[in-house]
């Protein structure tokens, strides 16, 4: 991770953020582009969830982490508050590892 990589990510991110406020309502985003961008984000986020839950580098991640995320997911569906979701997911994984589950 180089300073350049951090700066490129920061600059690009700021560009995405400033376009709307910069135009101050003088232009509207086409509905199709709006939907495509939000769909792209959802697809990436779900992929990020699944990949970071199930894999570690090129390999499978074991059982403790997926179990923790599963508990977190169940709490999300039950509309539990965010902090509860986070603590329950990490706690489940930590306890399973303490019990020797990889």
């Amino acid at each position: 991770m180089t300073p350049l990589a951090v700066l490129v990510l920061a600059a690009g991110t700021f560009c995405f953020r400033i376009v709307g406020p910069g135009l101050r309502g003088r232009l509207r985003l086409p509905v199709r582009l709006d939907r495509l961008l939000s769909d792209a984000a959802v697809v990436l986020l779900v992929a990020l969830v699944v990949v970071s839950t199930l894999t570690d580098g090129h390999h499978a991640a074991g059982w403790a982490r997926p179990a923790g995320v599963l508990v977190g997911g169940a709490l999300v569906l039950r509309r539990a508050p965010f902090p509860v979701v986070v603590v329950a997911a990490a706690g489940t994984t930590a306890l399973l590892r303490l019990a020797g589950v990889p």
């Binding site: 690009g12 995405f16 939907r35 961008l37 697809v43 992929a47 990020l48 580098g57 986070v86």
Partner: protein
């Protein structure tokens, strides 16, 4: 009552340095909104601490997670970038994944453009505070005053909490060593899941996300780290293509 206390806590976090109109409209928020913002800040602080700890215990110098959190200020992109590097991939894949992820902030910027107010400095500052959370709180407010109050309160409180938590996590990560023992690697996917579930209402979005996730997992053994998540974008084809063909032939083979 609790709303007043929480608002005071926000002030203690440095919100009083803001232009007076901003602190004035803080009172425009419903107590339940202030409470919800505090809960989201707490959750993101936990995730931020995980981010700092995981980055440092994975071998990155502390300035990487800390500078990233101040300058990029987008949790998903930060995890994607650092995750790709820690998994042994190049920084480029992580940066590209982070940028595609943050392209969603473009429509978000349009959605909250009216609440930032006049003045170039305020617009730039406000733009940097555009996140999933601040936009979600803004768009659900009933009127213009509450929208503005919700945006600045959530944006600033999150910025402060997130960055302090990342610094704390980076410091602790050096001490803890093995963040996996604390289950911190499960915290990030869990909070991402909590963020993304409400966006899965449309059937074609769900189909695209599912397709993308399968592609990403299947690609993981073969592609350098960071790229499988990008490969998931192939799932978007599901939302674009069948819209026309569905009317005629529901079972097309593509």
């Amino acid at each position: 009552m609790s709303g007043v206390i929480s608002a005071r806590r926000l002030l203690a976090l440095g919100v009083d340095r803001l232009p007076r109109p901003v602190t004035g409209v803080l009172a425009a928020l419903a107590p339940s909104t202030v409470g919800d913002i505090a809960l989201v800040c707490l959750a993101d602080a936990l995730v931020g601490a995980s981010f700092g700890a995981i980055s440092v215990s994975g071998g990155l110098p502390a300035w990487v997670p800390v500078s990233m959190s101040v300058l990029v200020f987008a949790g998903g992109a930060q995890f994607a970038a650092v995750g790709a590097v820690l998994a042994g991939g190049g920084a480029a894949a992580g940066v590209v994944a982070g940028l595609v992820l943050n392209a969603r902030l473009l429509p978000f910027g349009f959605a909250v453009a009216d609440v930032l107010g006049p003045g170039r400095l305020r617009r730039c500052l406000g733009a940097h505070l555009v996140t999933d959370e601040s936009v979600a709180f803004t768009v659900r407010q009933p009127d213009a005053v509450a929208r503005r109050a919700a945006f600045w309160a959530c944006g600033l409180a999150l910025f402060v909490c997130w960055n302090l938590a990342v610094v704390a996590g980076a410091l602790l990560g050096g001490l803890v060593g093995d963040t996996d023992a604390l289950g911190l690697d499960a915290a990030f996917p869990a909070v991402l899941l909590a963020l993304v579930v409400p966006s899965l209402r449309r059937a074609d979005t769900r189909a695209a996300a599912l397709t993308g996730a399968v592609v990403a997992v299947l690609a993981t053994p073969w592609l350098p780290p960071g790229l499988p998540v990008l490969a998931a974008l192939a799932g978007l084809v599901v939302t674009v293509l069948p819209r026309r063909s569905r009317a005629r032939s529901p079972g097309s083979g593509g």
